[in-house]
C-alpha cells in the first residue's frame, strides 16, 4: 500500500542514490533483515550449539555436523550408505525425474498455448485452466490420489475388472511412482508460467525468418525457440528443484512415509527438541540448494534477461 511496493520508480530529479532512495529501500530491507537474515543467522549459530533432552546449550561444537555425516565415509556392515547420503541420493533422484517431466510437459503445454492458440482470449482461459490444481489445498490434492490409485482404487478396479491384471497393482500408491506423479501434478504449473512468459516475448518475425531460411519445424524449435526460452526454463527449474529438495509433505503422504526426505528428518528432529541437529541439517540442505541455484544461474543472467 505504500512506497515499498514501487522501489525502483525513477526519481524525477536525481536518478542516483539520493537519501530518498535509501529511505525507499529501507522498509523492504528491514523486513528482509528481520525475517530472513536474522533467522538464518540464528539457524547457523544454533547449528554449532549443543543440546540435551529438553534444552539447547550455547557453545561451539561441530558435533551436530559430525552427527549428520556419521558413518558416511564407508558403507555399514549390511552394505548400506549412511542415512544422510541415502536421503540426499533419493531426493536428487526425485529432483531429476520431476524436473525432467515437468520440463517436457510444461514446455509442451506452453508451446501449445503460445504458438498454436491464436486468440488471446482462449489463451487466457487455457492458461487459467492450468492453475486449477492450485484451487484446492496441497494436502487435499494429494489425498485425492489415494481413492484413485489405492489397492481398491479406481485404476485398479478398472484394470482388474477388464482382466488386464489378475492382482491389484501395488506400486501405484505409496511408492516412488506415486511421489513423482504427485510432484509432477503439483509443480508443472511452475514450469508453464515462466516458459509461457518467455515464449510470448519471442518476436514472431524471427520464426518467420527461420522458416524463410529453410529451417524445419524441429530446427526452429531447437535453434530459435529453446534458446530464447532459456530464461523461462531456468526460472522454472529453480522453482521446481528448490521445492522438491525441501519437500517432505508430498513425499510423506504419497510415499506412505516410508521414503526419506531431508525435510522429514529435520521435522522429526525439531519434534524431539534436537534443534541444533536440525539446524545443522538445514544448513547443509541450504548449502546444497544454493549451489544448485548458483550453477543454474551461471547458465543465464536472469537479471539481464527479465
Amino acid at each position: 500500500m505504500s512506497a515499498p511496493s514501487t522501489p525502483s520508480l525513477p526519481a524525477a530529479s536525481a536518478p542516483g542514490r539520493t537519501l530518498a532512495a535509501w529511505w525507499q529501500a529501507l522498509p523492504l530491507t528491514t523486513v528482509f533483515a528481520l525475517f530472513f537474515l536474522v533467522p538464518l543467522t540464528l539457524v547457523l549459530m544454533v547449528s554449532f550449539w549443543d543440546y540435551n533432552q529438553y534444552e539447547m546449550l550455547p557453545g561451539f561444537t561441530f558435533k551436530n555436523y559430525l552427527a549428520v555425516f556419521d558413518g558416511c565415509l564407508s558403507r555399514n556392515e549390511s552394505g548400506d550408505l549412511c542415512v544422510t547420503l541415502k536421503t540426499y541420493l533419493s531426493t536428487f533422484k526425485f529432483c531429476l525425474l520431476v524436473w525432467a517431466l515437468t520440463l517436457v510437459i510444461g514446455f509442451t503445454v506452453s508451446y501449445f498455448l503460445a504458438f498454436h492458440v491464436q486468440s488471446s482470449g482462449v489463451q487466457v482461459v487455457l492458461f487459467v485452466l492450468c492453475t486449477i490444481p492450485f484451487w484446492t489445498s496441497n494436502v487435499i490434492r494429494m489425498i485425492a490420489w489415494v481413492p484413485l490409485l489405492g489397492r481398491n482404487g479406481l485404476v485398479n478396479d478398472f484394470l482388474v475388472s477388464y482382466g488386464m491384471v489378475d492382482q491389484p497393482i501395488e506400486w501405484l500408491l505409496f511408492s516412488n511412482f506415486s511421489v513423482v506423479l504427485a510432484f509432477v501434478h503439483l509443480f508443472t504449473t511452475f514450469m508453464i508460467v515462466p516458459i509461457f512468459n518467455s515464449m510470448m516475448r519471442i518476436d514472431r518475425s524471427l520464426i518467420e525468418a527461420a522458416s524463410d531460411s529453410g529451417a524445419s519445424a524441429w530446427q526452429t524449435l531447437w535453434n530459435v525457440i529453446i534458446p530464447l526460452c532459456r530464461t523461462g526454463i531456468i526460472i522454472g527449474s529453480i522453482f521446481v528443484i528448490t521445492i522438491v529438495m525441501g519437500d517432505f509433505v508430498t513425499i510423506g503422504v504419497m510415499g506412505g512415509q516410508q521414503i526419506a526426505s531431508v525435510g522429514k528428518i529435520i521435522q522429526v528432529q525439531t519434534s524431539y527438541l534436537q534443534f541444533p541437529l536440525a539446524a545443522a541439517n538445514a544448513v547443509v540442505l541450504l548449502a546444497i540448494v544454493l549451489m544448485i541455484i548458483w550453477a543454474l544461474t551461471r547458465m543465464v543472467d536472469i537479471r539481464k534477461e527479465l
Partner: protein
C-alpha cells in the same frame, strides 16, 4: 495507489515524498490496527492434540461456568515442543505423562495443588500407585506413577512418593494394541508377532512417532522371541540397534504398506483396506467402525502398550486465569466429561463420577465388559455396537490389568530418534 504515488512524486518535492514515507513509517510503528480489546469473558487457551479436544466438552463447560475454552490443536510431539519453547502460549496443557521427562526439568509447569482439586483422592489408583483392582500392572517405560508427583509447586524433579503436588491431573488414558480388519484376515490374531508376519506383507503399518513406534516394535520383537528386554521403555543403544534392525529387515522385504503419523491417516489406511493389521489408537478403531467397516482393537497375549494424558498448568499462570484453570479441571473430573470420554472408548480419571452420568447399560458395556443390553451409540449418535456385542478387551480390570508397558522417553532418546530416521530412510 501506484498512480497516486506517481502523481505525488512527479508533482515534485522530495520533501513531500519523505513526509509520506515518514507518515507510513509512523503508522507502521504505531501498529496499523487498533488493539482489539477482548470482552470480559475469561478465555482459557487449551493446548493439546486434536483427539482430546472435543467441541462438545468446551461448549458444555462454557454453558456451565461461562468460561470459554479455546482449543490449540497440535501433534503429540508439538505439544512438548510448545511446552518447552513457548510456555506462555497456553493456559492449560493436555499432554502425555511420558512427555513430562522433557517438560518438567525446564520448570515450565506448575505443580497442581491437589487441595484445590475436589476429586483428587478419587483419581484411579493406576496413576497414583500403578495398581488396578489391587494388582500391580506392568510399569516398563514412563508409567504415570513415576512422574505424577512433584516435590513442590515450583519443582523441576519428580517426587519418589505421593505429595500434595501433581504434575498432571489425568484426563484420559487407554491401553493400545494392534487394530485389525477381521473380515480381511479371517483368522484369529493373538500375538504382537503377527505385525511382522510375512502373511501380511504389504498390508501392515506401524506408526511413525518414534517414541511410540519403538515401543510397538519392542512388543513385536519380544513376541517373536528374538530378545527379552529388561525395560522396553528404557533401551540401551544395543537394544535400540536390534529393534531397528528388525524393523529395517521387515521394511526391506516390503512388510509395511505405509507408516502413519496422524490419527486420520490410520483411519484411512484401515478403512480403504490398504492395511489389514497395524498399530492403532482406540478412537481410530471407533472411527473405522462408524463407517460400517469391521475393525477390531485386538487384545493380544503379550499385553497392551498403555498411555495416559493429563492437564498441566504453565508455571506463569496466575490470578483469574489460574482460578479458571482449576475450575476447568474440577469440572472435568466431575463426571460429565468423564462419561463423554468413556463413551468414546477412553477411560476417565475418576470413575465413580463418570458412572453417575452414564446409563447402567452403557457402564456395563464400556467398563464391565458385559454384552450390550441395547445398541451402543457414540456421543454423536453413531452406532458403535449392536445389542449383544462385547467390547474388545473386556472389562476395565481385564484391559488395564493387561498393561505390559507405557509410552516412554528413553535416556537414549537422541540415539533412538537417529536410528528411527535410519529405519524411515532404509
Amino acid at each position: 495507489m501506484a498512480d497516486d504515488l506517481k502523481d505525488t512524486l512527479s508533482k515534485a518535492a522530495p520533501m513531500q515524498r519523505r513526509s509520506l514515507l515518514k507518515g507510513t513509517a509512523g503508522i507502521l510503528a504505531a501498529g496499523v490496527f487498533p488493539a482489539v480489546h477482548s470482552a470480559d469473558q475469561l478465555v482459557l487457551r487449551y493446548l493439546g492434540t486434536a483427539t482430546n479436544q472435543d467441541k462438545d466438552i468446551a461448549d458444555k463447560f462454557e454453558k456451565d461456568t461461562g468460561i470459554k475454552i479455546q482449543y490449540v490443536a497440535v501433534t503429540t510431539d508439538d505439544v512438548t515442543k510448545r511446552a518447552v519453547t513457548a510456555p506462555n502460549s497456553f493456559d492449560l496443557i493436555d499432554t502425555e505423562y511420558f512427555s513430562l521427562k522433557n517438560i518438567v526439568p525446564t520448570g515450565n509447569l506448575k505443580g497442581i495443588d491437589t487441595k484445590r482439586i475436589k476429586n483428587a483422592d478419587k483419581i484411579t489408583s493406576l496413576f497414583t500407585t500403578g495398581m488396578v483392582a489391587g494388582k500391580a500392572v506392568g510399569d516398563q517405560g514412563t508409567a504415570p506413577k513415576k512422574t505424577i508427583f512433584l516435590e513442590g509447586e515450583k519443582s523441576k524433579v519428580f517426587a519418589k512418593s505421593p505429595t500434595q503436588y501433581m504434575s498432571l491431573i489425568p484426563t484420559t488414558y487407554n491401553a493400545d494394541t494392534l487394530g485389525i480388519r477381521p473380515d480381511l484376515i479371517k483368522r484369529p490374531i493373538s500375538s504382537w508377532a503377527e505385525l511382522l508376519n510375512p502373511e501380511f506383507k504389504g498390508k501392515a503399518a506401524i506408526l511413525n512417532i518414534p517414541s511410540i513406534g519403538i515401543m510397538d516394535a519392542a512388543m513385536v520383537v519380544e513376541a517373536m522371541g528374538i530378545y527379552k528386554y529388561p525395560d522396553k521403555g528404557n533401551m540401551t543403544k544395543k537394544e535400540i540397534d536390534l529393534t531397528i534392525k528388525t524393523l529395517i529387515e521387515a521394511k526391506k522385504q516390503g512388510q509395511f504398506r505405509s507408516l502413519w503419523k496422524d490419527f486420520n491417516e490410520s483411519v484411512n489406511l484401515m478403512a480403504s483396506g490398504e492395511v489389514v493389521i497395524q498399530s492403532m489408537w482406540s478412537p481410530a478403531v471407533t472411527a473405522v467402525r462408524t463407517k460400517g467397516i469391521a475393525c477390531t482393537f485386538q487384545p493380544l497375549k503379550e499385553g497392551y502398550r498403555a498411555w495416559a494424558s493429563g492437564f498441566g498448568l504453565p508455571a506463569t499462570l496466575s490470578g483469574k486465569k489460574l482460578d479458571g484453570a482449576y475450575e476447568f479441571i474440577n469440572w472435568f473430573l466431575d463426571g460429565w466429561a468423564g462419561a463423554y470420554l468413556n463413551r468414546q472408548g477412553y477411560y476417565s480419571a475418576v470413575l465413580e463420577t463418570a458412572k453417575s452420568k452414564m446409563e447402567a447399560y452403557e457402564w456395563a458395556y464400556w467398563m464391565e465388559g458385559k454384552p450390550a443390553a441395547q445398541d451402543i451409540k457414540s456421543p454423536h449418535g453413531d452406532l458403535l455396537a449392536k445389542k449383544g456385542e462385547v467390547r474388545d478387551g473386556g472389562s476395565y480390570e481385564q484391559r488395564m490389568g493387561g498393561i505390559a508397558c507405557w509410552n516412554a522417553v528413553m535416556d537414549e532418546n537422541a540415539y533412538m530418534v537417529q536410528k528411527w530416521n535410519e529405519f524411515v530412510a532404509a
